[in-house]
Symmetry: C2
Subunit: 429 residues, 2 copies
């Protein structure tokens, strides 16, 4: 899930994507059908960033809940992007307060009584705001923001800071997607149980909800590391005409570090923060999710990981959803303390053109992983996700040299060795 976007594609969890019917573009495309209920989607204006002030004229005041009046106002403000047949998104001129449908249980004054959907959206929107603010404070330049909706339900807020003072390219995206999936995908997602196979097949397509925050940030200085994180929540509704058909829900996510040069203390700090977040909830989490991360971010054709890992988890639904929301929030809140200190420490380190070249070669590896293996990216590209949001994960620049082999013992070789043979960065609890 290493895209900077959280379109429906990147929100689909691993267990969806291993289903053979999802492996080909044609089959994949067939799984994405949003309901045509634009009228049911509300977009009150709550937080607007870097948008024409004219767009906000007449829009509701901040913190106004979804309402008929705001819906009417914001529907007028929907500006269609240039016609591109492969993209279904409609660009907004103002940032919606919520990407949820009207009628979802959103109690702005009392979040604890809101639905999990609403509370997860609140969490990822806050994470997006907090992390963008932290990045802007260090970089000294501002994120550009694009908001968009899908006519069938849901939408996204993409923020990108490009060619800044510290970061070459940093993208932080939020998206909320409603859609339906065919029964075979549902079975694949829920472990393929055939208990209710006939009922499911009769029921037809199964509604789902997916929401997530996703980010990749590539700094300029070759000694400052790239970070990626993504936290997501998924629900499938009961098929409408099948009483008692199972519902499913799960959490997924992770945060991982991709430096071009190893500083042991940096990698240790980063993993330590991940471990602390995990340990607060379950001592088994960090070792399990650290391993999962090393396994997932493998560039198979190179036999090396993209970077030094971190944590990665999916299909998490083995305890109270409240606990897992708290865990996901903990992880999202750990991005700033895990990452920003490393940037502060390394952003002004002197470097040579050779250091920069090596960073660019590692950026090439990042592109290879994301375009060849990353499930969110590959699936998103093949199923009509918003391309610019999906490909925000790619670096501004990258390089490929024929048969480049760092000399044994060099700093470049050490990084490669660590990518080939992942090590433990923090002692076990």
């Amino acid at each position: 899930m290493a895209t900077t976007t959280t379109t429906m594609a990147s929100l689909l969890s691993a267990r969806f994507l291993i289903a053979p019917s999802f492996a080909t573009p044609a089959a994949g495309a067939a799984t994405y059908h949003c309901d045509s209920k634009l009228a049911a989607v509300s977009f009150p204006s709550l937080k607007c960033r870097h948008l024409p002030s004219a767009a906000a004229i007449g829009s509701p005041a901040p913190s106004t809940p979804a309402s008929s009046s705001s819906r009417l106002l914001t529907r007028k403000s929907v500006a269609f992007a240039e016609a591109r047949s492969i993209e279904e998104e409609q660009m907004l001129t103002e940032c919606p307060a919520s990407l949820l449908r009207e009628g979802e249980n959103v109690q702005w004054d009392n979040p604890s009584t809101s639905s999990m959907r609403a509370r997860f959206e609140t969490m990822i929107r806050k994470a997006q705001d907090d992390i963008c603010a932290a990045v802007e404070a260090v970089d000294g330049s501002k994120f550009h923001e694009d908001s968009w909706i899908r006519p069938g339900g849901g939408g996204g807020i993409s923020r990108v800071l490009q060619d800044g003072n510290v970061w070459e390219k940093a993208g932080v995206n939020v998206s909320v997607v409603y859609g339906t999936m065919p029964p075979e995908a549902y079975r694949a997602a829920t472990g393929g149980s055939s208990d209710n196979k006939t009922a499911l097949d009769k029921a037809g397509r199964i509604p789902f909800f997916a929401a997530g925050v996703s980010s990749v940030m590539h700094p300029k200085n070759p000694f400052a590391p790239t970070v990626h994180f993504n936290y997501r929540y998924f629900e499938t509704d009961a098929p409408r005409d099948v009483a008692g058909a199972p519902k499913a829900w799960w959490f997924g996510g992770g945060t991982d570090l991709t430096p071009s040069y190893i500083f042991e203390e940096d990698a240790t700090h980063f993993h330590q923060v991940q471990k602390q977040a995990c340990d607060k909830h379950d001592l088994a989490f960090y070792p399990k999710f650290k391993q999962w991360c090393d396994d997932y971010f493998l560039i198979k054709h190179r036999g090396e990981r993209r970077g030094l890992g971190g944590i990665f988890f999916d299909d998490l639904n083995d305890r109270d959803p409240e606990v897992l929301l708290a865990f996901s929030s903990e992880c999202a809140n750990s991005v700033i303390p895990a990452y920003i200190p490393l940037i502060e420490k390394r952003k002004d380190t002197h470097f040579s053109p050779e250091h920069k070249d090596w960073q660019q070669l590692r950026r090439g590896r990042y592109v290879e992983f994301n375009l060849v293996y990353d499930r969110g990216t590959t699936f998103g590209l093949k199923t009509g996700g918003r391309i610019e949001s999906i490909l925000m994960s790619l670096p501004l620049t990258a390089r490929w040299e024929y048969d480049h082999q760092p000399e044994e013992g060099t700093e470049e070789w050490k990084l490669l060795e660590a990518c080939r043979n992942p090590k433990s960065w923090v002692p076990a609890s």
Copy 2:
């Protein structure tokens, strides 16, 4: 088939790769099993380029056919590359005269009596030599050469010119691969006829032979275009214990142009040369193969082609193989007259940093096509092809900007329009 390598993977034709059993890495990997008959592979030294002179000591004189003595000598010269578990290749210190197995019908003194395998190898080796010589003459620097074998049969010769005077990166590869494929792949390859299904299934894996030349050349100047070409020949043997089981063979290939800026006369010249090559053999070829090229090199998620096309064909076996060998040779021989004049004309054109940035963005698109869609590349990466040969097709450098949209009417916009809406560059015959 837009890789610069012609490993077994890139040689597999389109109809192989659309078979569902080939769509997943696991299934794909299972299809590549070479026979373990290293002793049957001969590598006499014929043409050596840029190799340590010591390696040639005691090797047979040029034009020596495969023989026991040369085999013994060259087997001694096999130098194992660093141990990489995902690569099976063994690097050679000298360039083999032939990548064919000993016993193939190679009559060096009288090529017309040689087998099609041998004659095709001769053709692609000559194409590699001629094109590299033409490129070196323009660039003023030399290709680096790596030769390698696969223990199971076959091998390759990769040549790369990196960071030259004119080209940023130019790769020209030849490879010859022997292997076996499972019956279901054979059926997919031959249209799925079930006439002899039982006999085939009993026969087990079916031997195949594949050979090809493949190249991508990226110049430095943003007004000088990138070219790709690939010509390949494929055979499947009759299963050994099934009398009368069908054999299959076919030719495939193409040459296409990817400029960052359009010069109408350049595109017309390039297509005119392709058309002339086609027209000598069949007036129906050019329109059909031009369309096929436009269809194949589509970056689906962008709704745009990689470039301005050329010709692309596959599964060609509807006439005498002698005729198709002549056609393939004609096409390969057309690369120099189609491409080199464009480079001569544009290599020293003055350009601005903005022109270079646009070229780099288009290089990013090239990477997207090759890593996401190109069958040779994606299949090669997932089935253990020689990575450095496969990824020679990637540019030295590339760039991704968020939501870059050229202003309407600009030269950049015109290129994009031509990639979105392919046009006819030459009048119909």
